[in-house]
Symmetry: D3
Subunit: 265 residues, 6 copies
Amino acid sequence: MTTRFHELTGPQTATVLTPASVLLVPIGAIEHHGPHLPLVTDALMAEAAVEALVPRAREAGIDAWQLPTLQIAKSDEHCWAPGTLWLSGETLMDVLVEIGRSITTTPARKVVFVNGHGGNVALLQVANRELRRRFGLQTFSMPALGTAGRTSDDPTLPDEHGLGIHGGWAETSIVMHLRPDLVHPELFARNVPEWFDDYEMLGFNGKPVSFGWLSDDFGPAGIIGDPTAATAAAGKALFDEAIERGLVALGEIDRFTLPERTTLI
Amino acid sequence: MTTRFHELTGPQTATVLTPASVLLVPIGAIEHHGPHLPLVTDALMAEAAVEALVPRAREAGIDAWQLPTLQIAKSDEHCWAPGTLWLSGETLMDVLVEIGRSITTTPARKVVFVNGHGGNVALLQVANRELRRRFGLQTFSMPALGTAGRTSDDPTLPDEHGLGIHGGWAETSIVMHLRPDLVHPELFARNVPEWFDDYEMLGFNGKPVSFGWLSDDFGPAGIIGDPTAATAAAGKALFDEAIERGLVALGEIDRFTLPERTTLI
Amino acid sequence: MTTRFHELTGPQTATVLTPASVLLVPIGAIEHHGPHLPLVTDALMAEAAVEALVPRAREAGIDAWQLPTLQIAKSDEHCWAPGTLWLSGETLMDVLVEIGRSITTTPARKVVFVNGHGGNVALLQVANRELRRRFGLQTFSMPALGTAGRTSDDPTLPDEHGLGIHGGWAETSIVMHLRPDLVHPELFARNVPEWFDDYEMLGFNGKPVSFGWLSDDFGPAGIIGDPTAATAAAGKALFDEAIERGLVALGEIDRFTLPERTTLI
Amino acid sequence: MTTRFHELTGPQTATVLTPASVLLVPIGAIEHHGPHLPLVTDALMAEAAVEALVPRAREAGIDAWQLPTLQIAKSDEHCWAPGTLWLSGETLMDVLVEIGRSITTTPARKVVFVNGHGGNVALLQVANRELRRRFGLQTFSMPALGTAGRTSDDPTLPDEHGLGIHGGWAETSIVMHLRPDLVHPELFARNVPEWFDDYEMLGFNGKPVSFGWLSDDFGPAGIIGDPTAATAAAGKALFDEAIERGLVALGEIDRFTLPERTTLI
Amino acid sequence: MTTRFHELTGPQTATVLTPASVLLVPIGAIEHHGPHLPLVTDALMAEAAVEALVPRAREAGIDAWQLPTLQIAKSDEHCWAPGTLWLSGETLMDVLVEIGRSITTTPARKVVFVNGHGGNVALLQVANRELRRRFGLQTFSMPALGTAGRTSDDPTLPDEHGLGIHGGWAETSIVMHLRPDLVHPELFARNVPEWFDDYEMLGFNGKPVSFGWLSDDFGPAGIIGDPTAATAAAGKALFDEAIERGLVALGEIDRFTLPERTTLI
Amino acid sequence: MTTRFHELTGPQTATVLTPASVLLVPIGAIEHHGPHLPLVTDALMAEAAVEALVPRAREAGIDAWQLPTLQIAKSDEHCWAPGTLWLSGETLMDVLVEIGRSITTTPARKVVFVNGHGGNVALLQVANRELRRRFGLQTFSMPALGTAGRTSDDPTLPDEHGLGIHGGWAETSIVMHLRPDLVHPELFARNVPEWFDDYEMLGFNGKPVSFGWLSDDFGPAGIIGDPTAATAAAGKALFDEAIERGLVALGEIDRFTLPERTTLI
């Protein structure tokens, strides 16, 4: 039988799924990734990750299911760039809430957003709580391929100064692994705001001081990172490692249990 | 080069697309289709139609492009059924408006929603005007596979009384053609509200009197039609015929030109 | 006793109305209709239709009631024209939903939107389902005067090419019948986009391919049709025929019964 | 020529109206008014007032115009009562904003909401500012028939303690004058919360302390006042006096001029 | 123990508060008050009033509690002025509704908005009813310091023509009393639209005809009144008198009881 | 002169502030913090931090300004608890957007949300980008007192397992330092979900896998941490250290410059 939720029939979802089922929703982006990567990069990675994770998770005894990919998401930082298809935060939240509401008609209670786009992270955190409060679901979000980190410590590679967050070495390598036909190596160009080295507390995700930015705030290329040394081989290694770590994450999600909520507000 | 919009890079969309480009957005549904068809039926048909249409249209000189499939859409008539993933009309409208807004950053001006789900029809008509008024786009919606009609006149087939609108002979046949592994023939069962024969003016799409209905208003099966004689061969014929007619539709869209709008409200 | 809902007292609505009552809500538009017809054209027609239908329906044993006319509705296609008073689709939907919610405090369960404006059709279809899903009402929408068609086959009349949809022969004739003082025959002028003859699948309501348009997309006059041969006599004939067909429609609505809904979402 | 805005053609509004025109929008309610008055009471009064005011104002040199009546408005205090058709404050605000936006396509700049329902007063005050800020309109709201007060000082009448605000002597008398067929004198019954005499600062409109109430907070009748001595003759006197005062109000509105606003936010 | 709601612990609110408790929510504004008064003027006055009222009310046997001050509110009439921090009416309504919803988790049922800003008055009236209808709360709004009036009859003072509504003698005097360091007497300047004397029915709060205005409609100073004779001594007298009257108001609120509502819509 | 934005006059903000000004907006929460801490805890800490930071920052040459504290914020995880006053994410976003819009009328361009409540973190990150995209502001969010971490490594203290995130040792100590009168040491009780030790990837802020939780998911106390060893002295040390680190953060914010944005969407 299929392991894709949407390939089940409606009545099957009522009997095949259980409160222990783990529903994986790939969520990506269709957004500018510089001149060398396709718009679909993040959606591609999210879907590829879920497709790799589900059979492995099932082998490990987890009742994992793949849901439809949310390809278009919150790419407001790239709204200036031709080709970006973006939802406002408000609309994406409505979409997530309504998907959560829909799931409550099935026995499933665990939903995991497997996320390929950094710009979705904060909104997914807000959504996780919203779905728990309103529908009593157990909700999770995790990086599709990010758990292994995306920068290389290899001294033979160009130093991204820890800033390879959009169109850089790791992401470019992974797309070269997944869909080499969609990568334009002749247009690889470094765009690293190295001056962030002068900042200790202010920076991208993980630093104590967050800040609002759009991708052209760091130059017209709209990428942040250095793809010049990217290779499909490196991409395969990054992908495989990320899947291994994703399996660990799913294992934790599988055994993580919060109480049933009876009072929903 | 790819003919998928989202496989282009951002900068490519600014140069490859032109005002004559025709952007095809498949839109379907993830919804209950009875015990014999998968939830993904409508999304599957919409995407298959666009994938078939684009190369044929390009051969005919139309600069056609495939955009990401909107899989989850307005399935409120099936909200009662386990497995249906549905957006409210308001949220789907927001999604469509924001996609339209996004497209204005490219040179393209023609957007076609290729629709696999009857429940989206009216909302798409509203959206077409909204996108034209607010963004000056030229917008269209057309049935993905419906232009050839979905009922058979073959007297050897069970009579659907013109009501094979959800999970009936034509739709079931097409899914048997596209994805036979997802169809459950052993669960085929007729559910035709034949009493509509007594109504001349009141009925489903196309009759002068519209009415509000949910799919379980016509019995617990939640389908309307008779799949019992569905076959993959019939599905192939229906699919092929629909694509031919879809090409005619795209040809008309290609040469249909409304003036540039300068005052947007 | 009055047959206008709003002329009842509140307590009367609780005892006089029953689940078999049929509440008729005229809905029109206040919008540009060219230089020869008043802004109120569509609202006028909707209200006149309901006023003619209610006594006839009651004679036929239908417990029909007239509700207040929704004069201002979804006229976004005429938003560019001085004098058009228009609601966004979102606001009109809110109005319709809140009227539906209000009606649930009475015993009535059948609501019919009797619609004088083509621009409302799709939104009313969306609203019909919304009111059924959220409140369990039985909802309907029907053209106020359109069931008899609005174009003439009379070869002595100017050929509108099936496009007399706004300010053309039929509509102008009907207003000449209902309110001759508000018609300006000296300003009758033909505006027919005859080039639609070259399109088979793409066109106005009823064609498979819908498209987004504003009324000035077809010329500055903002009408589509040919009023030059309109007469009050033709208007009377069209009106009377439409009322006869409207009665058939109400008869079908009266005997059409969907099950009570207990699970509202 | 007509003095109803909506009976003009679209192009006429662009030439007949001027910045000095005064557009009168009747706004009422369709709401419970006890067992003796029709639901339409407030809408009836608002429309009757505007119909009486416009010709008188034009005689006085004011370029006054009647707009369509907003019959259904903010009657949330009667939401519990069968028959009340009510809009939420949010939806009514959207309606008012969109009407204001529509009017900006004409040369007119002065809009007056002539209000027959106390429950609309505060929202109209909010709307007045909203329309001025967003569209630069000059906006006003005034009571349709309330400028003469609605209580009697006649000692031969039952004392309403200044609380005849809903279905009491004045309102009932006016409806007996305007539409005697819709009044049910046999059901006249006093419901006056006399205990408000013990309150100096807290009370209905005009007292320093406002409070939130629904009409059944003061008893199941849902009226506040004493209609028992109402007569059509008193209603005529009240109506005529109110129109005289309304004319004074319109005269002030006519000569009241705020600067053009160029920066709209 | 504290008399500030927010200084209680959560569990304390469940036991210390009762349905007889009176929750006072100061609400002000951060808005332009001319060159002589600080932006915080209205928030300052609202909070000072509540801080003065609570201990006095408790002495009088009222179980009064101070809630957090809503400093930023509906100052759209000053949106043009640098420094004004303003919420739209819609957002402030959402804030008020969500605070009301929050309070329902405690035993308290009486909420009083003690308001320092005229621009909030109408919206608070709308909110009072909204909170009663949706949550069954007993809701009130009262002027923080306005119950004693804000204009002087003293013939030795400049005549404000009853128009000292924003930055005039009374308000300026009160701020001189409360926070003399924040007042700039050297910039006192009269701005009184004396021409309102020619209007009987049209005017600011309390007149039958309301109108939409922004504060720069009456000149670039953005104040309405005459602060030139303001003194701290006058401010103290006004403040003290207002508190005395506020206590009367709270006494009335304390003994005012509407029935429990069981049907919330 | 004051260093509080809201104590300036409106005209002063236009001249005193410059694009280099740094506007600090304290944002906290009024929410359940267990039986031992006041509802105001987070708002108290945020405001205390800003009051300590502004003078220190100004000494360091930063043009820092204190704005009004947003006391009520996104506390949906405590919505079940009496006393919590919470805004939905949607409403808080609207508040933040409208404050951002307001600030654009001044010369200031740098806004820092100094945040005392973990539940606001993700929403502020979304808001930072929203304000940059829509208004071109440079936006930042930083923890009010969290930059020094909130857990102790002191082996003599109870081990919180890194989970002292709500009402634990650090937060309790800080409130004991700031407002000892509001702390109830007799009710100190440990509530540490130690079983999180078994999770490597799934956890609270900072772990790769986020999850949706409400505070009573971890027991009825609604706290997470161990306050039993909290002391005012520890609180002072934590506070002082946090302020030192906050100054470093402000220094970075002060010299951090993104380009002016001219295309706002």
